[in-house]
Amino acid sequence: MMRTALAVLIVMLLGSVARAERLIVSVSNHRVTVTPNYSGEELVLFGSVEKDGSTPVDRKTLDLVVTVMGPRADMVTRRKERTFGIWINTDYRQFLEVPSYLALFANRSFSAITSPEIARRQQIGLNNVLLTQRVSGDYADVVPNDAFRSAFIRLRTQRGLYREDPSAVTFLTPTLFRTGIPLPAEVPIGTYEVEIKLFADGAFIGKTETAFEIVKVGFEQFVATTARQNGLIYGLVTAAMALMTGWMASIVFRKD
């Protein structure tokens, strides 16, 4: 498992050999199991930036931006408005294939790492991540200060599912770095992609990718899966359970 991951990593890295710096990363756990009493945990991402002979000697600052993206899903954001004295959902926007979990980490503020132009192109920062909306038949991302977009990010951030932290990446040595990836209790299950982008003196010089998986185990997950996949059986079992409980109660509490 580890060896294949490394092999894949090396193959991916071969492409960026000419770029003078190599990124080597690994997460502390490639498969996180969520048990019923899971209350959130933190994964650790380790990595190193390897320099070789072709690295320019005058290169000073190396910066890293880590993007973690959970499984993608369609989501609807709705806005309430006062109509006839009561608050009603009136307008909505559909977000297509957006990450259910999104975290952006860096070793210093995004604006210090690179120019706004490159930040936009490389999707650095929650304001620059592509969140495709369907606006009456058109598919597009909108300006960062769009009411629905910012409300969407705000609500996801409140639940701990979207986050950006420009000080989460720490360099242990000039080349060795680490960052924590916090996973809240209600973390969505599925495959998570991790993208590590390297910047030098404000220029984007390369990236590497890794991934981890979150799986839920236990009785609760079994119930949830059955409910979604075998609705009829699930309904019948629940109905039978209701009858059993009622019947048991009438026996236990029988007065005569």
């Binding site: 408005e81 608050w87 609500l155 209600e186 599925g190 997950q221 119930v223 309904g235 009858l243």
Partner: protein, 305 residues
Amino acid sequence: MQLYLPIADLPVNVFLVLAMGAAVGFVSGMFGIGGGFLMTPLLIFIGITPAVAVASVASHIAASSFSGALAYWRRRAIDPALASVLLCGGVTGTALGVWTFTQLRALGQLDLMIALSYVVLLTTVGSLMFSEGLRALMRTRRGAVPPRRTHNWIHGLPLKMRFKRSKIYLSVIPVVIVGILIGFIGAIMGIGGGFILVPIMIYLLRVPTSTVIGTSMVLTLVTMLFATLLHAVTNHLVDAVLALILMVGGVTGAQFGARAGQKIRGEQLRLLLGLLILSVGVRFAIELVIRPEDLFTIRELGVNG
């Protein structure tokens, strides 16, 4: 003890839910009702989405009405013929209700419709029941005999049928309509409908009090079982773990409630129930009128891959 609810997707304290089930069970045993109109709002209040609350409470009501129905069956206080006619309407109404529920959910107006139905239905029924209880109480104080009307327009309808155990001769049309109505609102609002059905059966259909509660429980039982099944198949929103905790608490509380209910006089009981229903309705009304904390909400439409 924290427990993770698989469908509601939320950790809850088992003892809190158990206590809620017992408290609602107590009230329902006391008044001889299912208690859905209290359980659903309570679940919404602790953070469970209205959709999951409505769907899960259905199975909880099925359990409590089954134990009730068994007791009434032993006492021969159920009219099988009347129950079957009611059920024809009830099952149709439930199917219609679940279908409407699914449509409203897709439109994003389900929560609003649940809240609106609660406001309209509960404030109306609550104030009617309250004023009726008040009048009855004043009559008994004065020692007057309650006025008794014998027939109304409903008894002039065609397709009449004889319901032997209830000793009534009644058209099936209003019975089926009542069944449809109860099934429909039950599926949308997560209530058994006993608190509406019993007064309708007594005042409009003139079903004698000896068979009215038992028969209404049969309707509640079947419509709620059917609603559980349909909600599970179409919307996948029934949380069996939540339902089981509620059931256990509910059936236990109901036994003690029933004992407490026997100590209180009928008029006072109706007055109290009216007040209770009214206050739940008003609570929902306030929620609709005040500005919500957040104007925006997100709903996930399912993870792809």
